[in-house]
Symmetry: C2
Subunit: 376 residues, 2 copies
Amino acid sequence: MPTTQPLSEPTLRLDEARARRNIARMVDKARAAGIRLRPHFKTHQSHTVGRWFREAGVRAITVSSLAMAEYFAADGWHDITIAFPFHPGMRERANALAGRLRLGITIADVDALAEVTFDAPVALWLKIDVGSHRAGFEAEDVPAMAALLDSLRGRSDLLPGGLLAHAGHSYGLRSATAIGAASRDAMTQLQQIRAQLVGHCDRALQISIGDTPGCATQTTFDGADELRPGNFVFFDLSQWQIGSCGIEDIAVAMACPIVARYPRRGRLVVHGGAVHFSKDSMEFEGERIFGLAVAAEGDGWSTLRPDIRLVAISQEHGQVAAPAEFIEACRPGDTLLLLPVHSCLSADVIGELHTLGGQRLPMMKRWSGVADPNTG
Amino acid sequence: MPTTQPLSEPTLRLDEARARRNIARMVDKARAAGIRLRPHFKTHQSHTVGRWFREAGVRAITVSSLAMAEYFAADGWHDITIAFPFHPGMRERANALAGRLRLGITIADVDALAEVTFDAPVALWLKIDVGSHRAGFEAEDVPAMAALLDSLRGRSDLLPGGLLAHAGHSYGLRSATAIGAASRDAMTQLQQIRAQLVGHCDRALQISIGDTPGCATQTTFDGADELRPGNFVFFDLSQWQIGSCGIEDIAVAMACPIVARYPRRGRLVVHGGAVHFSKDSMEFEGERIFGLAVAAEGDGWSTLRPDIRLVAISQEHGQVAAPAEFIEACRPGDTLLLLPVHSCLSADVIGELHTLGGQRLPMMKRWSGVADPNTG
């Protein structure tokens, strides 16, 4: 399985065909359901991958920070929602964005807009906690939300957009049935809250939902006006374990040089650590893992090797547990391909993507402030 | 405690005075012990911080990747050891470095040098596993090491430098006494292995050791020729828990905007997640934490607030457990200062440092390929 091309350092390989297929499926699903797709771009953080979405007809996107909004604005995106709670320190940069594109912001605290005004219209989304208990308003906060909406009447800079939720607790589920039930429960909560806010706002409040497990496993989204999944463009082992995708849908794999073999303890050491994979892990067959190997095939990869596991990582080192005969066949300098547990964080920490065709796609962190020269 | 300067995004603040004091102490200690200090630069990954070391008299450094060696070579470092296992895929870039500076490489597998030659002399270090069982040769590998050294006789491109160890298992210890015992045990192993290699090499093999707990807590390093600690320049909560430093020695704190308050469940949400802190965590008073708050003071910070804890993180969000009266006093947009669990990874993922004086220090990942314009 080790490939023979010598690599000098770990490289996050992106199978463009798989990513484009994942994009096309979600676009088709949203279109069939008659719902606006506003994909979250925090997973890829790349101008080029963003252009693949644009080619599939996507015009509205979600980001998780001001920096990410600025990065995609620079590549021609004109309709961006920042789905991270707004606070007054964000006002100046958000105001500059609002002057050049259709901006949406999200709030999760009634005092988040204290004395904030904008020079151009900004859509305001109320973040609702539908069960993950990370951030957002709950049902008992309806009076506070109503008062907030009342206070915005007559203002032309902050236009209520609707209720925005991320059912993050779906990441703990393991079947399409359970995920579907959680999605329907979330929708019931959102609709009940919206009903109580009627009369406090002149506009009809929309409902925006966003978790990849829900969007990937379900086909109907009754009640929703907008879908904001992100991870589905690449998927990863976590999503595979949840049931959101098949192994063949995972579009990124870390190519790691093998640097040492320890057959006595059944271990390989690869160049591939926390600065490449992140430290996100998952439980797999009773063991904590940071990645699983796949067999190299052509320029890409094919089947899973669940017996070859990234079981420990430090800053640069990865320790791989593997069968003796596999270790025997390896040499330092060979490349091992490992699927990441969490593609969003792996892409973020390594900071660039390489297509199977050899194209290097810089990402936001390495961005110099000018548009990406890669074609899209 | 929340500071009033509005921040638009999380910022890793660096107290230059503390970092320079940490550097000076280690330089003085190595000088007093008559040992070469070759600090590991993977913690700061910054040209400017590197210059603070140079101003303290340091001339030799350690790095953990080719990219890091190239980055520091560009800022005038002429003596660099790559303390990560070499493999044949690294040959071309390593050879280019060897042509312009004094390069050391490390191997952890007898086949790592298969058919590799260099056009200029390269120092070769044998990585010894003294107990962490991550990477390196063990005592029973002495015959293989001896054969390797024999095979290098007469070659002018690969010059045996010595034995290199990182007692990574010291990170699990919790007292200077236990760390001292582990350090002495490691030294005994190294000296025994070296004694068995006499006669297989024309040069005297040196001994290089490197963990921050050992270097920070001990004052004598009998038998060692070189010290390679890295983390001590910033320290962090992990090192404080081990006993390597006091809270007042920790030189970096993440300044996080508070974005929402949830007094009913005793939580604040801050902008500060896995892409700022990394996902490294530690056990503190029976709880898994990702950071602890400190009180703001002037442009910097002072005492620990162990009752204000970063207890959960996702990509951008941090959830902070705090006392009710503290939450009551906070407003969205206030800044909370949090000490990181692991400063090396936090610095790596956020990718830049900001001094208390307001200077922005770019790091390797955002490097454009030219020398850092900041003075040093």
